[in-house]
Amino acid sequence: MKSSLIKSTVIFLGLFFLYFPILVLIFYSFNENKRVMVWKGFSLRWYNELFNNEQIIEAFIISIKIAALSATFATILGVMIGYSLVRIRKIPFKSFYIFLSSTPLVLPELILGLSMLLFFISLNNVIGFPSSRGQLTIFISHVTFCIAFVAIIIQARLTDFNKNIEEAAMDLGYNYTKVLYKITLPIILPSIIAGWLLAFTISLDDLVVASFTTGPGANTLPIVVFSKVRLGLSPEVNALSAILMFALIIIGLFYFYFNKKFKH
């Protein structure tokens, strides 16, 4: 009895620690007062101001666009890597291939951002492209570091996957390509969707790499939010937080739904 009490207490305190800050943020988003910390009364004023804030709305649209595009590219390339690592035996310089596809997972974002920026500047010096940085350069950078996350999900899924189904289809006369498109990809589809959702969220959430590779006309949402809260508090950001947290948590639930499927 005593040990189950300890257990419930630990779990309760753990969850409290994880959710308390989020609840505080949501609570204060309904504060009428412009001074965030002084409670004046319940109000939806800051939600209203948020939806009329063109800078934030524009940044939000840019962020969604970049996130959707980079998640799609990262998913295609990540699936190819996951498939290659598990199913294709002959990969030239395989250690190098593994190095390329796993290092972005552990490389601090700051170093990745700096390397991308210096790369784009050097590339511009050599071939005159990209002449200025912006949405395209953020997109390329995001694809590059999201690939690894998708690859690891697909790799895990394919390792669990029963090869007999593929071999049976081959025996029945399906060729290699047909097996892939008719058997393998449909079976791992939930993991592909989970990978896309993860890449989408990572791109949407990224501040550091985007700060390095951004340019005129490409202020993503985290960049705008950071500039607003770096030195103080902002009631509009509180309202934005509440909405964004809610939306992202729903995406997270979908991710678990799709990624859980493969475990059983």
Partner: protein, 295 residues
């Protein structure tokens, strides 16, 4: 024949992308880190000079510069200490939590796991911002402390190294819990019962059975927390004060404020060598080893 073509397409499309947009950028960092700096745009000289015959124009001065100045080494050491302390606290909170989740019944287990990891999906920046609200002088924590009579006036909780540790432990905790849970979930709980039956008490069971079996999870979780925290820039920027400088901050300032590209590149490349390389080598060896054992 067709299979070959198709395999090549699958292997080489991502290969091409990653060499172009990941490996070459890293190589460029290295190149600039051994370039001679100068005033101008770009603020470094080319490493190959062709004006009077061919000449290689490189220097290790940038490395000497950062490794002989306490400002840089001290910040890097600060970051390592910060990462060590944060990893310790993540482990301290994460271990009992993952252990109790892993030993719950299967339905509760899945719900709890989702509940623990879901905050990780919500915006990183905003979760750090939430602590800025909590730790304000007139924030909720100070209000509680005042009402309980623990302090008589509001404490300065924000803008110091403790706030930074708090923010890091909070945001990185799920990264510790996931791998820990993964390993704890795998092992047979009957082992705990067996060790109790054999007369080991709780403490001994923990140190002789549970802890040794969870070492891989502890290592994986600690690496996932430790490495990004060393390079962390946002959390010290939002919650930290001027009491401590960290690696991320000086790298940022060396590049954007001092405009010393070779110096910033040398800092970044040193970071890669010291932090990332050992782990990458470990990973490659591990994946080869596990592949061999599979066949």
């Amino acid at each position: 024949m067709k299979n070959k073509l198709f395999e090549k397409y699958f292997v080489f499309s991502p290969y091409f992308w990653l060499v172009l947009f990941f490996f070459i950028p890293l190589a460029i960092i290295f190149k600039i880190s051994i370039s001679v700096s100068e005033w101008g745009m770009p603020p470094y000289q080319d490493i190959f000079l062709f004006d009077n015959g061919f000449k290689i124009n490189t220097t290790l001065e940038n490395y000497v510069y950062i490794f002989s100045d306490y400002y840089y080494i001290g910040s890097f050491v600060n970051s390592l200490i910060l990462a060590l302390i944060s990893t310790f606290f993540c482990l301290l909170i994460g271990f009992p939590l993952s252990f109790y989740i892993a030993t719950s019944n299967i339905r509760l287990r899945n719900i709890l796991l989702v509940l623990v990891v879901i905050p990780f999906w919500s915006s990183f920046l905003l979760r750090v911002y939430a602590w800025k609200i909590i730790l304000q002088n007139n924030g909720i924590l100070n209000v509680i402390l005042l009402n309980l009579g623990i302090t008589s006036e509001p404490l300065q909780l924000l803008y110091n190294q403790y706030a930074v540790i708090m923010g890091i432990v909070y945001t990185y905790l799920p990264l510790m819990i996931l791998p820990l849970y993964g390993y704890l979930n795998k092992f047979d709980l009957n082992l705990i019962e067996a060790s109790k039956d054999l007369g080991l008490n709780r403490t001994k069971t923990f140190f002789k059975v549970i802890l040794p079996l969870s070492v891989p999870g502890i290592v994986a979780g600690s690496l996932l927390v430790f490495i990004p925290v060393v390079g962390e820039f946002i959390i010290p920027e939002m919650l930290g004060g001027s009491d401590r400088l960290y690696y991320g901050k000086i790298l940022w300032e060396e590049f954007f404020v001092n405009r010393n590209w070779p110096g910033a590149s040398a800092l970044a490349f040193s970071g890669i060598i010291i932090l990332v390389l050992p782990i990458v080598i470990f990973q490659i060896l591990y994946s080869r080893w596990s592949q061999k054992n599979e066949i």
